[in-house]
């Protein structure tokens, strides 16, 4: 790392240490919390020193850089340091104690993080609590440490910091007559930083509001519930803000309501009913700690949150969804989850296609009436029907009368043939062979624990042998009427084991077209064809496949024309450690992660500059079916946090856990193709519609012209101007270097 990177690293780690107190990584929040801490000069200074010292120590001792940058080590130290700075006068001995405190807290943090992460729970403020109590118990022996009373008088510090103006401002704010509940709320927030004034609390509250509306509303809900509970049981109201315990309700609410779980009305309800439990924990722990003259601080919060997270692991219903990819924002977590569920809830890593050519009808789906039951329920039977929904001609007395009899059956995905049964004669129509239930069958292994089986084939018709590798779409055999098959049909199932008799595994079919009654069709992704549905496979178009084929190592250069100005924009194609490909724009530091599986190109996420060409490209090609289908529209939803902003979005944030009424609807239309066999030019048009309560508010339109096996022209039609990007010839130099 060079100097600049070092500075960046420590700035990040210190800022995150502050923001993490409130489960965030927002820089505004961090700055406001730091400012708030400096209302008491000593506390602010020693807190900052602790954050920096701990992060330096952690780096020197060689702990995980990523964790340091996240601020997870600094967070507890700075709280300990503030607690100590409040209690003792600053002198040489204090500096020694301070340093030991940082080291102890760091070790406790590393140890607890290591241990608790195995249980899948966070360490929260446990290192802080342990270190603080240990030091408070220990230093009673050290006479040289003098108790400090000066810090009670905040105005001395303010004067030192900002002269009379600041003191007057402080006085003015304090003179505002706030309702008791708000006053107590701000004081409780301030108490997290060992402060006892509402200015600190206000600064923190503003920081939370900027960082997250949901977190802010949760802090209020948590606090007010606690307040009302105390009022209801007739407990001592004042202790709420004089003895550092009110924040337990605030922090617990933020953690349970929206940080560790996806915020929904259920998490809000949960935190409301947990309030009495927190109150009891406070009371109980106070009683235990009283003889040792130790404050309870945030112990109840740590206990309840860790307990809830751990306990919910044992819930068999997924009412409270743990956040798996933490984005340090309840909004982002919620929108990303909501979007993920809508887009990818069925998506599987491995794609299974259809085992036939042309249009077939599902005669028995999953959980079917006839034979798809019990362990074998997740199977499909396919037949061919005519306009009268008949499966045969000429009376149907012979197998040959059935439309599907003798048709080729193809591999639904590539893989190795692991089992073949090829000696069962065809049944007469209406007859079933229960002895050889599956009849002539083939099992293909696609990957570990993923097999498909096709049954009721014709004896002697196999084109492949056990051990052969078959490509998707290759004919493996022809359909017969063997086994438990009263009339010819394909039995198709996905299974986890390599045997002909294995039970089924519920696994969606990756992509297919569903025919509707009016002769049109609908594009289906990762779904389960239902009984009675007529489906057929997807054909992709060479030009579209090539245009969206980005090879890691390749760079794409566009000449962008905007307002008469021309500039060059370059994207690099990379993959990350999980082999996920992304486009990277070095100039703007933007990333767009995409998936291209040969049938569909789609983006999963974007990070970076929202005025960059890459961002528009992310929106414009959010989901592209790589086959030209004039009659259909491709639709999808872009998650709110990636393209929505402004006041409307802020208002939406507040009620997002209960209702999401804003949406960003993506749509792709196939506009033009120069010839359908091997096209040389294709034009696509895509839209991004901002809708509120289903009403269109704003529309972005994009044009993509594909030529010469690449995206030739990319046009962004904004309200007042059009940006035109033309791709220059693709460079493969870097690809060759990598090879």
């Amino acid at each position: 790392m060079n100097i600049k990177q070092h500075i960046g690293f420590y700035t990040d780690s210190v800022l995150h240490s502050y923001a993490q107190i409130f489960f965030s990584k927002n820089r505004w929040l961090a700055v406001l919390v730091i400012l708030a801490s400096f209302v008491n000069w000593d506390l602010g200074l020693w807190g900052l020193a602790a954050a920096l010292t701990t992060n330096l120590l952690a780096d020197w001792l060689g702990f995980d850089k990523h964790t340091i940058r996240e601020g997870l080590y600094g967070l507890n130290s700075l709280l300990v340091a503030m607690g100590l700075a409040l209690a003792f006068e600053v002198n040489g001995q204090f500096v020694l104690v301070f340093f030991s405190a940082c080291l102890l807290t760091l070790f406790l943090s590393v140890a607890l993080l290591g241990y608790l992460s195995q249980l899948g729970v966070p360490f929260l403020s446990l290192p802080f609590l342990l270190a603080y109590w240990i030091i408070m118990l220990a230093v009673r022996q050290y006479d040289a440490l003098a108790l400090d009373v000066s810090s009670i008088y905040a105005m001395n510090d303010l004067y030192r910091f900002g002269g009379m103006t600041l003191v007057n401002l402080y006085e003015y704010i304090h003179s505002i007559e706030l309702p008791l509940i708000l006053d107590a709320y701000f004081n409780s927030l301030a108490a997290i930083l060992f402060h006892g004034n509402i200015v600190t609390g206000m600064l923190i509250a503003v920081g939370i509001l900027i960082s997250s509306r949901i977190a802010f509303s949760l802090s209020l809900v948590g606090y007010i519930t606690g307040y009302l509970f105390y009022y209801f049981v007739g407990a001592d109201m004042t202790q709420l803000y004089y003895s550092y315990i009110g924040f337990n309700f605030i922090l617990s609410a933020m953690a349970i309501g929206g940080f560790f779980f996806i915020p929904t009305w259920k998490t809000y309800s949960l935190l409301v009913i947990l309030t009495p439990v927190i109150a009891m924990l406070i009371a109980a722990f106070s009683a235990i700690f009283m003889p040792y003259q130790l404050p309870v601080l945030s112990l109840p919060f740590a206990i309840i949150v860790i307990m809830v997270i751990y306990v919910m692991n044992f819930s068999t219903q997924h009412k409270f969804l743990k956040v798996t990819k933490q984005q340090y924002s309840p909004e982002k977590n919620l929108y990303a989850y909501d979007n993920y569920i809508k887009r990818f809830s069925n998506t599987t890593y491995y794609q299974i296609g259809l085992p036939f050519f042309g249009e077939w009808t599902v005669s028995q789906g999953h959980e079917g009436k006839h034979t798809h039951k019990g362990d074998w329920n997740a199977a499909w039977d396919f037949v061919i029907t005519d306009d009268q929904d008949k499966t045969y001609r000429d009376g149907g007395a012979l197998v040959e009368h059935f439309y599907c009899y003798g048709l080729p059956v193809s591999a639904p995905a590539s893989g190795y043939v692991v089992a073949i049964v090829d000696d069962v004669p065809d049944n007469a129509i209406g007859d079933v062979d229960i002895q050889n239930n599956w009849g002539n069958s083939i099992v293909i292994k696609h990957t570990e624990h993923l097999y498909t089986k096709i049954s009721h084939l014709k004896a002697g018709s196999f084109k492949v042998a056990v051990g052969d590798y078959v490509q998707k779409g290759k004919v493996v055999a022809y359909l017969g009427n063997s086994g438990r098959s009263p009339e010819p049909h394909i039995h198709f199932q996905v299974q986890a084991n390599p045997y002909v008799g294995s039970k089924t595994m519920k696994y969606p079919l990756a992509y297919y077209m569903l025919k509707d009654d009016k002769g049109g069709y609908e594009f289906k992704t990762f779904e389960y064809p239902k009984e009675g549905e007529t489906i057929f496979g997807i054909k992709t178009t060479g030009l579209m496949r090539e245009a969206f084929k980005f090879i890691p190592g390749q760079s794409l250069t566009f000449e962008v024309e905007e307002d008469g100005q021309r500039e060059l924009v370059e994207w690099e194609v990379h993959t990350n450690g999980l082999n996920q490909p992304y486009l990277y724009c070095r100039k703007t530091g933007s990333y767009a992660y995409y998936v291209n599986d040969g049938t569909l190109h789609y983006f999963t996420t974007f990070e970076g500059d929202r005025n960059s060409l890459l961002y528009y490209f992310y929106l414009a090609t959010y989901k592209v079916l790589l086959g030209y289908y004039k009659q259909i529209d491709i639709q999808d939803k872009v998650p709110l946090q990636l393209a929505d902003s402004g006041i409307g979005r802020y208002l939406q944030d507040f009620i997002a856990p209960f209702m999401i009424y804003r949406e960003l609807a993506y749509q792709l239309n196939y506009k033009h193709i120069d010839n359908s066999m091997r096209p040389k030019e294709i034009i696509l048009e895509t839209h991004l519609d901002k809708k509120s309560f289903g009403r269109l508010q704003d529309r972005l339109t994009f044009d993509l012209e594909l030529r010469e096996n690449q995206i030739d022209v990319f046009r962004i039609k904004l309200k007042n101007k059009t940006i035109v990007a033309r791709q220059l010839v693709t460079s493969f130099e870097e690809v060759l270097e990598v090879v």
Partner: protein, 452 residues
């Protein structure tokens, strides 16, 4: 009670059983309705004779053919052969079902364009293409199927002149084991002409060779022959790939599938011996799938089947003009339509049914048309119940070629109607009248008047 119909008595040999060596008995069952519309109502409304096309049969047949091929091969496209029946209503039914167009003259080409078929979906076949025809087809991006070397040279010249790359295929003729072997169209596979043409195209670098085309014959009763043709075509395509690294986009196996009509002199009736679409599809797709193409490089299979697609959907209704006895004692019935409207009666023994109630007692008869020409014979020998003057008959399976090869000879051509899926009758071509015929005629001034 209505008066019972009179039918004069006949004497004939007893004929027992359902089928004898002459095939199934036919012609006894009256055919009173077409898709729910009464024949007598049709004739009352539109006159006699009258062509009737069943939209339902058109669509059913297309879907059967499509299903037969697309369930066996992943990449199938039909192209409607205009010459078989280019009534716009018929063409558009097929276009609605997804068919492209296949034309063999500028007239048909313009007709397809006017029907709204995009240029790149009109296959331009046949030996009759002028330089101007080529120019239009190149401008529209239509696939041009080259029939002879002169056409090939002409296209190379045009590509320079127009600075465009024509999209071409070459027509191949080959020995598929059937007689007669069609070798008058295209380039021969066995003697190397085909490779000669391919080399010329590839080395010219002026033309895009996108396809290969063959059309091995017509009314083909041997589906195996298509398997042989498909293998040879695939062999060419794979070797072009090997030699030039160029992949062929499509293989056009042409048409020629037999309809259920019975050929003259055939021992068994057409419905008993004609292969089904499934039979043809089986041979073609098996040959292509086993030829050795990579699954994602399988060429598009284009089929131009006309006759088998449209024959069943066409009916000709007519009326009895008179009965008479020939010198040898055979019975003769004169109908109001003849070879002028039924060109196919030169090839087929068309099934003809009475359109009203009749007994099952049939008598041998000769069916004559109304033309005052000796050749005007509809059936030389048919078993039909005795018909009276004014009785109506239905001729089956006349959808292919009759509405394009009919003659305005002696009589004017009648109406064509189409019965839609809801049994509604639509006029799709009006009958000709004197004005229509005179419209194109010019009489020199000195011949305009005469006195008798």
């Amino acid at each position: 009670m209505t008066k019972l119909r009179y039918e004069r008595p006949v004497i004939k040999a007893l004929n027992t059983g359902v089928t004898n060596k002459f095939g199934a008995q036919q012609g006894f069952i009256p055919h009173t309705h077409i898709d729910g519309v009464a024949v007598k109502d049709l004739i009352a409304e539109h006159g006699s004779p009258l062509f009737v096309i069943s939209e339902k049969t058109l669509r059913d047949t297309y879907r059967k053919a499509k299903s037969a091929f697309s369930t066996r091969y992943p990449n199938v496209q039909f192209a409607w052969s205009y010459k078989t029946n280019y009534m716009n209503a018929v063409c558009n039914v097929f276009h609605q079902e997804g068919s492209w167009g296949e034309v063999v003259s500028r007239f048909e080409y313009e007709k397809a364009l006017r029907n709204g078929v995009p240029g790149d979906k009109i296959i331009f076949n046949g030996p009759d293409k002028t330089t101007d025809d080529h120019r239009v087809a190149i401008a529209n991006g239509s696939p041009i199927h080259i029939d002879h070397l002169d056409e090939l040279y002409s296209l190379i010249e045009l590509s320079d002149e127009m600075d465009k790359r024509p999209r071409v295929a070459i027509r191949i003729n080959m020995d598929t084991g059937i007689q007669p072997m069609w070798d008058r169209f295209g380039f021969n596979y066995e003697n190397g002409q085909a490779w000669d043409a391919i080399n010329k195209i590839m080395h010219s670098k002026k033309l895009d060779l996108i396809g290969l085309h063959c059309h091995i014959g017509t009314y083909m009763l041997a589906a195996q022959a298509y398997g042989v043709a498909a293998s040879k075509m695939a062999d060419l395509a794979l070797n072009i790939k090997k030699k030039f690294g160029h992949s062929i986009h499509y293989l056009d196996l042409g048409g020629g599938f037999a309809s259920k009509n019975t050929l003259k002199g055939a021992y068994l009736s057409g419905s008993d011996v004609a292969p089904t679409f499934a039979d043809y599809a089986e041979h073609i797709s098996t040959a292509l799938l086993n030829a050795g193409f990579e699954p994602d490089e399988l060429p598009l299979l284009i089929l131009e089947t006309g006759r088998a697609m449209v024959d069943d959907a066409g009916y000709l209704l007519g009326s009895v003009l008179a009965n008479k006895r020939l010198s040898d004692g055979r019975r003769a019935t004169i109908l109001d339509f003849g070879v002028n409207l039924m060109f196919t009666s030169f090839w087929y023994e068309h099934t003809i049914s009475p359109a009203q109630e009749c007994s099952q007692y049939a008598e041998d008869a000769v069916l004559y048309g109304p033309l005052c020409m000796n050749i005007d014979v509809i059936r030389e020998n048919v078993k039909l119940p005795p018909l009276n003057k004014g009785d109506q008959v239905v001729v089956h399976r006349v959808g292919a070629y009759n509405m394009t090869q009919w003659m305005q000879f002696i009589a004017l051509r009648p109406r064509i109607v189409m019965v839609d899926l809801d049994s509604k009758v639509h006029l799709v071509r009006d009958s000709e009248d004197l004005d229509y015929m005179m419209h194109l005629e010019r009489v020199p001034e000195h011949l305009k008047s005469f006195e008798l």
